[in-house]
């Protein structure tokens, strides 16, 4: 559960304060696929950054599963991100000095997971990149890099995946591929997905929509869709979420993206 209470963000633009997000409150229940849409500069990415604890709000509280992350220090935030949040960026942000496999393994290694290697290989297989595991980011295409980034986001089996314009830097075919993967993730694992996009077609794939303009929420379909299970809307059967096993068929092929649900050892 993601909860924002009267959260705002103001930065200094030269010597003048500039409000990027006006105070807003909202709740994103567990297992939802929410698209945040709006024109450039409307505060979409800032909102996503606040949810991930990448940035601190100027006022208000951000709660992840009931924990107010604005009270956490940098190290605690890093630990929380490692455990609960996966992030996919528009510009991929892979570490250039690491291979695809290593990029995927890093979050698990940080968390001290014992099966990092197996799981990284499995995740790469699930994004159809087994053959490219030992290539460096500079040797991969944009679509491949974003798939590596998605596999990395899923490394610690987070309950929340935040994606900041994940298709913004890709051609339409690769963009579609990434969206399919995100849908599968959401569908098969019941992961909460928050997607920032300004593409209405992509936003339509989500089960709820949050429209921002000039730092204010101008439309919020979360309330209307409340109670509607994401799987019903997307028509995808959850694969690995506890308590949802057996509700329908498993998707075939590499797009399984099942959850291992193994507790990382620390």
């Amino acid at each position: 559960m993601i909860e924002l209470r009267e959260v705002s963000k103001t930065v200094m633009s030269g010597s003048e304060p500039l409000t990027i997000l006006h105070p807003m409150s909202l709740e994103i229940p567990h297992g939802r696929f929410v698209a945040i849409v709006g024109p450039s500069g409307s505060g979409k990415s800032t909102l996503l950054g606040l949810i991930a604890g990448l940035d601190a709000p100027s006022s208000g509280e951000v709660l992840i599963d009931g924990v107010d992350i604005t009270r956490l220090d940098e190290d605690a935030l890093a630990r929380l991100r490692g455990e609960k949040i996966g992030f996919v960026f528009q510009f991929f942000h892979l570490i250039p000095s690491l291979t695809a496999y290593e990029n995927v393994a890093v979050p698990m290694e940080i968390a001290g997971a014992a099966d990092a290697r197996t799981r990284a290989e499995m995740l790469l297989e699930e994004v159809s990149l087994t053959g490219r595991a030992h290539h460096y980011p500079s040797q991969l295409s944009g679509g491949e890099q974003q798939r590596v980034a998605l596999a990395r986001a899923l490394a610690n089996d987070p309950s929340i995946v935040l994606a900041d314009e994940p298709t913004g830097n890709l051609d339409s075919a690769n963009g579609r591929h990434i969206m399919e993967l995100l849908r599968k993730v959401h569908g098969s694992r019941g992961t909460t997905v928050v997607l920032v996009t300004h593409d209405a077609e992509l936003a339509a794939m989500a089960d709820a929509r949050l429209v921002l303009r000039d730092g204010r929420v101008v439309e919020n379909t979360l309330e209307h869709t409340l109670g509607l299970r994401p799987i019903d809307r997307l028509g995808v059967v959850p694969g690995g979420v506890e308590g949802r096993q057996g509700h329908g068929e498993q998707p075939e092929g590499p797009l399984v993206l099942s959850s291992s649900k193994k507790e990382p050892t620390r």
């Binding site: 490692g82 992030f87 979050p107 290694e109």
Partner: protein, 845 residues
């Protein structure tokens, strides 16, 4: 922990090439430390093993006067008390040696040593060609000489040489003898003769500078007690007693000092490497900013990320240090080759890297890498993962942790230096000196960059951009200026000092001033000498006979200082304890000026003395005080009537600390010295010396031209040594330059690509690079040269007390060569920038 290890390995794998040069700097410094320490330890081992042969005895009792009957009795008694001591006597004196064949008009100052049959008690005399030494070789007017004497006076083994009034046959060549230290100052080559033949030379007459020694071999356990007893017995006399242990201790201390100070040179290079590591870490972190943000985004804590980079730096530091040990091993392996067939004590050492030196070197390399990288690595804490969402600048910040770490690092560096120098004071001085120099070079660099800043609006496109590049973000300008500037400073500084000193000596010798000094002219020879020199033989010039006596201060009773007896003078007399050469006259020399009291006119039977200002101040002796002198056993107590300032540089006619009023000393036993302008040509000088010694065999001649040659020789060796050190520093600077180019290459390749798409051709870009590095090299050369000017000024004015001169040639050459070096290396290491295709680069970006 596994994450830290794995990431460190991965990071090292991807970036070691870029960081390589900085760690080669560490390697060079470590190599210098390890090699110097190992060599000194090896040589010291030889000295330790041969401590007794250093003085050729267990105990050495020496005096510069005749043994008195009482002294001999005391020694006899003490030796028999100590039981069963074996002993032998030697006498050493400087004298002139000439070929007995009068058709060869040449004479040379030599150091004569007359030995008895039992010599040496320890060690052995080595002769050229493996001929074994026996006393029979010198018996019956035989002589063993150093090989260099043969060439200097044109004789060979089997020939006869004249020493004083006697003739000796050369029966062998000495390559090594016990009791003659390494690098000890000598007036001339060694000549060994039989003790019993010395009297026939007539050199032991009055006023001779012979040093008589009794060498004793005795049971180990009684050595120290004998030394202490004899010192007590002779505390009021001019007899010294020392054991091989005190010599060993002294040599040990000298070695310690040499080892510690020389290692500081290596440490300075390591620290220079450390500064480069610090600078490169800062740039490295700037380049890694996104990767660090990503790591934080996926859950890594700042501490973990810092640990990754610390581990990486330490791994490279360790690799660099091990490389340094390898380099030291290589350098040391070459020593036996360099020494060739030399039979000196240096050739007896078994050279190799010692464990202690290797461990110290590696420890220092790793520690310095760590210390210098910690502060820039702390910036990792301020990198925010939010920069992945929007481009935001991460500014350099300081907080209390950074300041605390900086203080801790500084203290650690002082401790490290103090440990290397084995002195906290030296540690603090060297660190502050280095920090001061770094700050000065830093500001000089900044000042010069500001000075060339107007060129940024030059009409030349390449020059404009070259200047702009010097202050671009993440530039390495200051660290290159520091490192290359420091190297240039060392080299230009030492070369200027050498030129300055040599020209000073040349002026002194070349001027129409005395350039020869005759010693030991006996009273009875004075008239003969006047007649001889008055005839201007071989074109010799003006001369002057100055009476001299050798005296020791044995007491002072004055307002501030009261010293009773030799022992007190030795202990508290602030350099009054040595033997002085004194004179008497009724006038001041041109280089003297009375600063207190009044100089006498005319003779007086009452003893009066005039003292040189510095020693008067040091010993707190004033006008009106009374001093007591022992002049060859006779006591004289003059009143101090004046204090003189002596310009020692101008002391062509000999400078004297104590000048007496004529009258009291006129009849005392004395000799004369004669400064004179010798003949001009070397052949005439040789003939003059020969004729002089032929007529006055006991008289010694010091030829300033030969002294100048010796000084020139010693100085060129010292200069070479310091130039090698400066070269190493410069090499580190060059490596830092190459490393800096490698570090910032990505940025340059991108910029070049943009310039190329905007129409710049390869020629323009090469000119841009050439200007950039040319300006950088000129600035570094200028910094070094300015530093050298300040250094030569300080050293000339305060240490050497010679006029300060600026050698424009050295400085111009320094600046030009540094500029050319930096420009060529800068451009050569940027070839990738010129070759890269713009489209590929821009796409990759």
């Amino acid at each position: 922990m596994m994450f830290v290890l794995r990431m460190a390995v991965r990071e090292t794998r991807s970036s070691w090439r870029r960081l390589l040069f900085f760690f080669i700097c560490i390697a060079i410094g470590v190599a210098a430390i390890v090699a110097l320490r190992s060599v000194i330890q090896s040589v010291r081992g030889v000295f330790g093993a041969e401590a007794k042969s250093l003085i050729a005895a267990d105990v050495l009792i020496g005096t510069s006067r005749d043994w008195t009957a009482e002294a001999r009795q005391t020694i006899e008694r003490r030796l028999s008390d100590a039981g069963g001591a074996e002993r032998t006597e030697t006498i050493e004196t400087p004298t002139m040696v000439r070929p007995a064949d009068r058709s060869r008009p040449v004479a040379k100052m030599a150091e004569l040593r007359a030995v008895q049959k039992a010599f040496p008690l320890y060690g052995r005399v080595d002769l050229q060609g493996g001929q074994p030494y026996t006393h029979a070789l010198v018996e019956g007017h035989g002589a063993l000489v150093r090989p260099e004497l043969l060439t200097s006076i044109g004789v060979s083994v089997g020939d006869q040489i004249a020493i004083g009034q006697a003739t000796f046959t050369i029966r062998g060549l000495v390559t090594k003898e016990p009791g003659r230290g390494m690098g000890e100052f000598s007036l001339g080559p060694r000549v060994i003769i039989d003790y019993d033949d010395l009297s026939s030379t007539g050199l032991l007459g009055f006023g001779s500078r012979a040093r008589r020694m009794i060498l004793v071999k005795m049971p180990e356990e009684r050595v120290e007690s004998l030394v202490l007893t004899l010192r007590e017995d002779f505390k009021e006399e001019f007899i010294n007693t020392r054991s091989y242990r005190s010599t060993e201790d002294q040599v040990g201390r000298d070695f310690d000092r040499a080892e510690n100070y020389l290692s500081l040179v290596g440490l300075i290079i390591v620290i220079l490497g450390g500064i480069a590591v610090s600078s490169v870490t800062r740039v490295f972190i700037l380049q890694k900013i996104r990767s660090i943000a990503v790591l934080k985004c996926v859950g890594a804590r700042s501490g973990q990320i810092i640990a990754v980079y610390v581990l990486q730096v330490m791994t490279l530091g360790l690799a660099g240090s091990l490389l340094g040990v390898g380099m030291a091993q290589g350098a040391i392996a070459a020593i036996p080759l360099a020494l060739g067939s030399s039979t000196s004590i240096l050739a007896q050492a078994h050279y190799g890297v010692t464990w202690s030196a290797a461990v110290q070197g590696v420890g220092i390399g790793v520690l310095v890498s760590l210390l210098f990288s910690v502060v820039p690595l702390l910036q990792v804490r301020f990198i925010k993962p939010s920069l992945l969402l929007r481009d935001e600048a991460t500014r350099r910040r300081s907080d209390w942790t950074s300041i605390g770490v900086l203080v801790a690092v500084s203290l650690a560096l002082v401790t490290l230096t103090a440990w290397q120098a084995s002195s906290l004071k030296v540690g603090v001085v060297v660190c502050s000196g280095f920090a001061g120099l770094a700050v000065i070079l830093h500001f000089a660099g900044r000042g010069l960059i500001t000075l060339v800043a107007p060129l940024a609006s030059s009409r030349s496109f390449p020059l404009r951009h070259a200047v702009l590049h010097l202050s671009r973000p993440g530039n390495q300008t200051r660290v290159i200026l520091l490192a290359v500037g420091l190297g240039a400073f060392f080299i230009v500084g030492v070369r200027s000092l050498q030129a300055s000193l040599l020209s000073e000596f040349s002026i002194q010798v070349a001027a129409d001033a005395p350039d020869m000094f005759l010693l030991d002219i006996q009273r009875g020879q004075a008239d003969g000498m006047r007649a001889f020199l008055g005839g201007r033989p071989h074109g010799a010039g003006e001369f002057q006979l100055i009476p001299v006596l050798r005296a020791r201060v044995v007491g002072v009773s004055g307002r501030e200082t009261t010293l009773e007896g030799v022992d007190e003078v030795r202990q508290k007399g602030a350099s009054l304890g040595r033997e002085f050469t004194i004179t008497y006259r009724d006038h001041l020399e041109a280089n003297e000026r009375v600063v207190e009291g009044a100089f006498w006119s005319g003779p007086s039977p009452d003893a009066e003395v005039s003292i040189e200002r510095v020693i008067a101040e040091r010993s707190r002796i004033h006008v009106g005080d009374t001093m007591r002198f022992d002049i060859l056993g006779r006591s004289i107590s003059p009143r101090v009537t004046s204090i003189r300032d002596v310009e020692w540089r101008e002391a062509r006619n000999g400078g004297f600390v104590f000048v007496f009023r004529p009258g009291a000393l006129d009849q005392a036993p004395q000799t004369s010295v004669a400064p004179l302008k010798g003949p001009a040509s070397p052949a005439e000088r040789a003939r003059f010396q020969h004729d002089l010694v032929e007529r006055f065999p006991n008289v010694s001649v010091i030829d300033f031209h030969e002294v100048l040659e010796t000084i020139r020789d010693v100085m060129s060796k010292v200069t070479l040594a310091i130039t090698v050190v400066g070269g190493l520093v410069l090499l580190s600077g060059v490596l830092i330059l190459i490393g800096a180019v490698a570090m910032t290459k990505f940025q340059r390749v991108y910029e070049a690509a943009v310039f190329k798409t905007l129409g710049a051709n390869t020629r323009t870009i090469s000119r841009m690079l050439l200007f950039e590095y040319g300006v950088l090299g000129s600035l570094a050369g200028l910094i070094g040269s300015l530093g050298a000017i300040v250094l030569t000024w300080g050293v000339s004015r305060y240490a050497l007390e010679i006029p300060w001169r600026v050698f424009a040639g050295e400085h111009i050459a320094g600046v030009v060569l540094t500029a050319v070096l930096v420009a060529s290396i800068g451009v050569a290491s940027s070839l990738d920038v010129l070759r890269s295709k713009p489209l590929a680069t821009l796409r990759a970006e």
